[in-house]
């Protein structure tokens, strides 16, 4: 595995950042088409978050049982292996890209570890951003208790470590990930007393045509639904977990009905015992490498910020393409289609009509789901003054409200400057959306993160050395 910054002096035709579904599909398609390719990923194995799987040492006999579409991933992995062996793809694991420099030839700077030499510089004529997404978190009283995990975190524990966050797990939040997470959890032996979904699903009714055009998605949803029915999991719609109880660990939650704006309705609270809670409120595109360079963005129907791309998945920056969740969250099938499509336009090849149609259909479905699961503005009502919103810096909601109402902060950045919310390790990835809501920031905007990840100072000090 390459651990030194030495790179061939010739730039690659294409550097793909992220080896999840979109990046994998793009890299192997580009290599099929004859491009020289570097595939950089922050993790040790391909697959990204979606196809996260155990390290070989764990001896998992059937990792595919926890996954939808494992065969598609297995096929992409085989093609990656073949291209890597043939030298058409240089697959760089554990490479976290901290910045990209634009140019005729782009320069990517990556960090591999703590030592001064744990760094790499990759040059390429085109770059594809396939860095996926991270979870949107909406805090509530008790959300920092041990046993409260994100829906994606619960999936990740299961997929990578084959462990469950608890035995009796309440799954709550909003979005299609909830049913998938609940389905995985019951399959792995957990009890899920209830799935609490904040929306009423009425939003889907607006897009029946799009639903009908995506039968595979409906089947997938129906499979999850059937399994949950079989395991006796109830689905409670139009409700939310408004508090988690416990001292050392969560022992139960309070669930309340929500009005149309997601305001908890007084008098509807019910307590449910559990030893774990998995919360998911959808995903946020991870796009700072592009937005720091000034790439144009769009607001998605669920209130997140994604990169604006054209039909060929070009961003507004010449030489930079995007695929998958970075263009708006839509799941693995869409990501694979977009990876292929982007690779073809990067290689200057025509896009087959079937591929184009598959991508457009899936994208339309993603937008429909996003519209249905947009958080209502009233959710902040379930925060108490002492509820930590930024858990890195331990900033409670009351201090954020004070910064907004007394000190004149009108956006998330100013709240950060005045309260330190978002200044900690996660750099606002956890609290960003919540802080923006509390600051009544009207337009969702990309967070400013000039460094996409922490970088050892010794590596910054040598960032000019390419050999």
């Amino acid at each position: 595995m390459p651990t030194s910054p030495s790179e061939p002096s010739d730039p690659y035709d294409l550097a793909v950042i992220g080896a999840g579904p979109a990046g994998l599909a793009a890299a192997v398609t580009a290599a099929d088409l004859g491009l020289s390719c570097a595939l950089l990923d922050a993790g040790p194995r391909p697959g990204g978050q979606y196809y996260r799987h155990p390290a070989p040492g764990l001896g998992a006999a059937h990792p595919e049982r926890l996954h939808h579409g494992w065969s598609a991933f297995a096929a992409l992995s085989r093609r990656l292996d073949a291209h890597t062996r043939a030298g058409r793809i240089r697959y760089l694991t554990d490479h976290q890209v901290w910045t990209a420099e634009r140019g005729e030839v782009w320069t990517l700077h990556a960090t591999l570890g703590p030592a001064a030499d744990d760094r790499a510089v990759v040059r390429a004529r085109a770059v594809l951003l396939a860095t996926g997404a991270y979870e949107r978190q909406l805090p509530f009283p008790g959300w920092t208790l041990p046993g409260v995990v994100t829906a994606g975190g619960a999936q990740a524990m299961l997929k990578a470590g084959l462990v469950l966050p608890g035995r009796r797990i309440v799954v709550a939040g909003s979005g299609p990930l909830l049913l998938a997470a609940a389905s995985s959890l019951v399959s792995a032996g957990a009890e899920v007393p209830v799935v609490v979904e904040a929306t009423s699903y009425l939003g889907y009714a607006k897009g029946l045509g799009t639903l009908a055009a995506n039968p595979a998605k409906l089947v997938e949803g129906a499979q999850h639904g059937a399994k949950l029915l079989r395991y006796g999991v109830r689905l409670r719609r139009g409700s939310a977990v408004v508090e988690a109880h416990g001292t050392d660990r969560v022992t139960g939650v309070t669930v309340a009905r929500l009005d149309r704006d997601w305001r908890p309705v007084p008098g509807t609270e019910r307590r449910i015992a559990c030893d774990a809670v998995a919360i998911g409120h959808g995903l946020l595109p991870q796009i700072e490498l592009a937005t720091e360079l000034g790439a144009e963005t769009r607001e998605t129907p669920d209130g997140t910020v994604a990169l604006r791309v054209d039909g060929g998945l070009r961003t507004s920056l010449p030489g930079l393409w995007a695929a998958g969740e970075t263009c708006g969250v839509g799941g693995a099938d869409l990501a694979i289609a977009e990876g292929e499509l982007a690779a073809r336009t990067i290689a200057g090849k025509p896009v087959p009509a079937a591929l184009r149609a598959r991508r457009d259909r899936r994208r339309a479905f993603a937008e429909l789901m996003a519209a249905a699961h947009r958080p209502g503005p009233g959710w902040t009502d379930w925060l108490r003054a002492d509820t930590d919103v930024c858990r890195c810096e331990e900033v409670p909601a009351g201090r954020i409200r004070e910064a907004v109402e007394v000190l004149g902060a009108g956006d998330a950045r100013t709240v950060k400057l005045l309260t330190r919310a978002g200044m900690g390790w996660c750099q606002g990835r956890m609290c960003g959306p919540a802080v923006a809501c509390l600051a009544k920031d009207a337009v969702p905007r990309a967070d400013s993160r000039p460094l996409a990840c922490p970088v050892p100072l010794s590596q910054l000090a040598r960032a000019d050395l390419t050999d």
Binding site: A409, L457, R462
Partner: protein, 375 residues
């Protein structure tokens, strides 16, 4: 009527409100949304040679001490002192001469021989020739300082309109100020204070006069939270020359300091590249290398984030402060370059003196906005 809710505008509003004037503050963004929010919070006298700017800095240093008492600890005011170090004897000689000259203007400094630098800063690199300790240097958290000054101004009666852009500065047939128009309201006022910082040239333009404020970009690196390993504001002697330079080219000289919250801040770069926000890997590289030269222990820490800002730069490095003789009723309080946090209270106080017809503490002639030849 103050345009700008950065630290300078907040200080103008604060002193004018305390002087009994009715005050309104307008900013197109939030409080501290421009250069203030991107500042390090340097309250420095150590980097200034005797002259009008140093006089302003010394006046401000005293005012900041008073303000720290009045605004409480919320501004994170720290009278930590500065330490300027020289790597060789020639550099130390230059520092010595500079400090002696500053002494004539009232700047306190103490020479620290190389062998004793570690008593002040245990983690400094070995082998430095020596340095000077400046006990009057201090630090605030700039956004908090601006927000609390503005809050105090509000308590004293000031009205604050944030998220409102000034679209016009209205003048009468005699050329005097009548008021301003924002995208939401008209405000009638005989006096407008231009505290728009890096955008001060645009506001002057709305009032019909040129003011050549240009952006000078700077980056700051922020490390992971650390125990207190840097106690003062520590910088190398080259910094003084960089601050005074008029060159458009990139200059970097590490200024290293700890913060109450734990992270170490590493500034300061200077370059004139317009409002380009793109991260410069070369700037980061130089700052990181220089910081590690001063404090080798920093090589092993993680840089958690970086930010950039645009200093409001006027060609002779002095701010524009006071009444503009070209437009009766127009006052400027902008162009403080990288020293705006430090110079804000003095600026606010002097403006309020002029607004109330009192004698300012300093002669404002060197800061007149019409000092630049029409171009």
């Amino acid at each position: 009527m103050v345009i700008g809710a950065g630290v300078v505008g907040a200080a103008c509003a604060y002193y004018a409100s305390l002087a009994g004037l009715s005050v309104a503050v307008v900013d197109r963004g939030p409080v501290a949304g421009g250069t203030t929010g991107a500042g390090e919070g340097n309250l420095l006298v150590s980097d200034k040679e005797p002259g009008p700017e140093l006089d302003l800095a010394l006046l401000s240093a005293g005012l900041w001490r008073e303000l720290a008492g009045e605004l409480g600890e919320q501004t994170e005011y720290e009278p930590k002192g500065g330490l300027v170090v020289a790597s060789d004897e020639a550099g130390l000689d230059a520092l010595r001469a500079f400090a002696a000259h500053q002494g004539t203007a009232g700047v306190e400094s103490v020479e620290i021989p190389g062998a004793r630098l570690h008593e002040l800063e245990p983690h400094l690199a070995p082998g430095l020739a020596g340095g000077f300790h400046y006990p009057q240097d201090a630090q605030v958290q700039p956004a908090l300082a601006a927000a609390h000054l503005l809050r105090a101004a509000r308590v004293a009666g000031a009205e604050v309109y944030l998220g409102e852009a000034v679209t016009a500065v209205r003048t009468g047939p005699d050329g005097a100020i009548l008021g301003v128009t924002t995208d939401r309201r008209r405000i009638d006022t005989p006096a407008v204070v231009n505290a728009a910082g890096t955008w001060g040239g645009e506001v002057a333009g709305l009032a019909g006069v040129p003011l050549p404020v240009l952006p000078r970009r700077g980056f700051v690196l922020v490390t992971e939270p650390l125990p207190r390993i840097v106690r003062h504001k520590v910088y190398a002697a080259d910094y003084v020359a960089d601050v005074a330079s008029g060159s458009a080219a990139l200059q970097t000289s590490a200024v290293v300091e700890g913060t109450p919250a734990g992270p170490v801040l590493i500034g300061a770069s200077r370059e004139r590249v317009g409002f380009d926000r793109t991260l410069s890997v070369e700037v980061l590289r130089r700052l990181a290398a220089q910081a590690a030269q001063l404090f080798p222990v920093l090589a092993d820490v993680s840089v958690q984030r970086a930010y950039r800002g645009f200093r409001p730069y006027l060609p002779d490095h002095l701010p524009a402060i006071g009444a503009d003789p070209r437009v009766p009723g127009l006052y400027h309080a902008c162009g403080h370059e990288g020293a705006g946090i430090g110079l804000a209270p003095a600026t606010g106080l002097l403006i309020s003196r002029q607004l109330t017809g009192k004698q300012p503490e300093l002669d404002l002639t060197p800061f007149r906005a019409d000092r630049f030849a029409a171009s």
